[in-house]
Amino acid sequence: MSTESEEARPQTIDLAAEYEESGFAEVLDELDRTLIGLAPVKQRIRETAALLLVDRARQKMGLSHETPTLHMSFTGNPGTGKTTVANMMAGLLHRLGYVRKGHLVTVTRDDLVGQYIGHTAPKTREVLKKAMGGVLFIDEAYYLYKPDNERDYGQEAIEILLQVMENNRDDLVVIMAGYADRMDRFFAANPGFRSRIAHHIDFPDYTDAELLEISKSMLDAQNYKFDKQAEKSMAEYIPLRRKQPHFANARSIRNALDRARLRQANRLFTQAKGPLDAAALSTIAEADIRASRVFSGGLDVDKGTNKDAAE
């Protein structure tokens, strides 16, 4: 370290003050409040946040000059909150000053890969341009790589991505998301990604109790509520739904609630005889949940295979 540049640097750094100043606490609080369950994810984010905070302090004291690699991979089943967390991550990184704008651009293979020769590169560039200064979230990233088709244009997109992930580390953060096993295979086939992604965060499935909590908070957000029996039948519904195919954690719950609201509206419309009060309009009753096909053995197409499970 040269002496003249040392003068401008602080001798000590108060991490607590840095923490306060960065507005970190608000984001982490929000994370705690809005996300139910996901304890390991929250833990990892806390750790990452601490690392970034210390790293920033080190930069201020001149101990490190490199921008840390912030690219991440989120693995987990569908509906476990990957996009939601990515959004919060963008906010977090923005507060710390690691990304300039803090917006999230969500893309899938279709947005990056073209349909004919020479179509892919401009398409990928276009997306990258939009994502500059923010976070690029690539959902189901493994679809980019199709090993069975040698001439697949996905490879081209991968090359451009890798280049930008390396050269524009100050400008954007890439988060890749998808199922754990398929992401592992994807990384094994593309070692370039593995080495450029520093943080791997695994999203566990929600437990039944957590899903019930989630369903209540979802309804709450829309000013609906369960009555006593409806809550009980929802608690029964969740394990039944889990055994059915295409179970997507919180997303399945959201869809179930959408259908329950539909049934509630229908019920009120056909059965109501007289004026309805606000409570009646915002209460989901047992019948609205019980009418679900999940209780009677699932979708017709799945009936044969899942009859035992559903009953």
Partner: protein
């Protein structure tokens, strides 16, 4: 001869940081950034070639700077300008335009005097 048109053209050439700052200003006003280039800087040549489409959903100046780098690589000897387009109803026009790249040796604007009907004279300018 130094071509002067658009903003800042009487100032020394903008550095990349200054261009970035200007583009940030443009984005801050929610105008769309676009790049255009030409080899014919005649003042009457209003229509320059477009370099890609106007970037309507850009959030950060870096995206435009990437395009500028690309354009400079392909057309190092061209005039390149950054334009800011305001799509607000009632405006729908270019709000700002400045040159960000010039050829190392700029052409001369040459004046030509010609006789026309009845010994009167007219003047024309061409870029050589």
């Amino acid at each position: 001869m130094r071509i002067t048109q658009g903003c800042f053209s009487f100032l020394p050439d903008l550095t990349d940081e200054q261009i970035t700052a200007q583009i940030e200003y443009i984005l801050g006003r929610e105008w769309a950034v676009s790049l255009e280039y030409t080899y014919d800087p005649h003042p009457r040549n209003t229509y320059w070639e477009m370099w890609g489409n106007p970037m309507f959903d850009l959030r950060d100046a870096k995206g435009a700077m990437m395009e500028l780098d690309e354009c400079r690589k392909v057309h190092p000897e061209a005039y390149i300008r950054v334009q800011a387009f305001d799509d607000t109803r009632g405006f729908e026009t270019v709000m700002m335009s400045f040159i960000v790249n010039r050829p190392p040796e700029e052409p001369k604007i040459h004046m030509q005097r010609t006789d026309v009907r009845g010994r009167s004279q007219t003047y024309a300018w061409d870029v050589r």
